[in-house]
Symmetry: C2
Amino acid sequence: MKTTRNTTAKTTILEIIKHSDVALSHTEIQTLSNNICDRVTIYRVLDRLVGEDVIHKIVNLDGTIKYASCHHAHNEVEHTHNHIHFSCEKCHAVTCLDTVEPTFKMPSNYLVKAVNFTLSGLCPSCL
Amino acid sequence: MKTTRNTTAKTTILEIIKHSDVALSHTEIQTLSNNICDRVTIYRVLDRLVGEDVIHKIVNLDGTIKYASCHHAHNEVEHTHNHIHFSCEKCHAVTCLDTVEPTFKMPSNYLVKAVNFTLSGLCPSCL
DNA sequence: ATAATTAATGCAACAATGTTGCGATATATA
DNA sequence: TATATATCGCAACATTGTTGCATTAATTAT
Ligand SMILES: [Zn+2]
Ligand SMILES: [Zn+2]
Ligand SMILES: [Zn+2]
Ligand SMILES: [Zn+2]
């Protein structure tokens, strides 16, 4: 079987994401990592971390992709990322709102498997 | 003042979007328009139509941008696009669900100005 | 109907972002 | 320490979106 390895690039990138209180884009991670590795490597590490369920991918309102660490217990049976994200239109910070759970009624002829909710406006720091 | 003009490109693109029951990307519009105009013109026409509030922009789960016509009455006082979108993971169709209204409770220290909700799963055709 | 104004277009050139192939490197294991 | 192979670096490429400018065409005025 295909195993996964802990490399310096992977460790560094994961630390950067874990220590950030906002979601980070590929470019932001590259800057913060001080070019510790190639641009392509960052893409591949991010894919791996998402696959390992250590971080999750967020699509921002403008279509940019951001990454944040997963704060759930890793032994959950049902593992979803159905929490809301907030995108501040002033400081552009994207944060996970793990406690907010949206409710909605869907027509029965749809099968909903995942939700991706993003709110925008002003965050507490910018309010 | 700067007026807007009705050109063949604009008319054609708007017709394509209006007659589609799913949201369309720039590339899809280009294909459907049979290369009636330059790639850049499509970008500019789409920006104009969004600015005129005739169509609205949707960010799909994968970060791709799609466009759909607005179905609201144009004399509404409050004009928002806070409806849910559904993205089918099989046929990749993105549709507007104008009737579904999500509810949620936000912490008071956030100011929510806009919402962007996308559900994914299987649409009625693929179920 | 014709001329004048300028919004809109086409084209080229560029920037940003993401992907792929492959030889070289480094990690985990024996 | 030796081996297997996951991962990396690099180059090359694809896609998507932007900008500047000369040309074209839609609207308005004459
Ligand atoms: Zn903010
Ligand atoms: Zn999150
Ligand atoms: Zn479908
Ligand atoms: Zn819509």
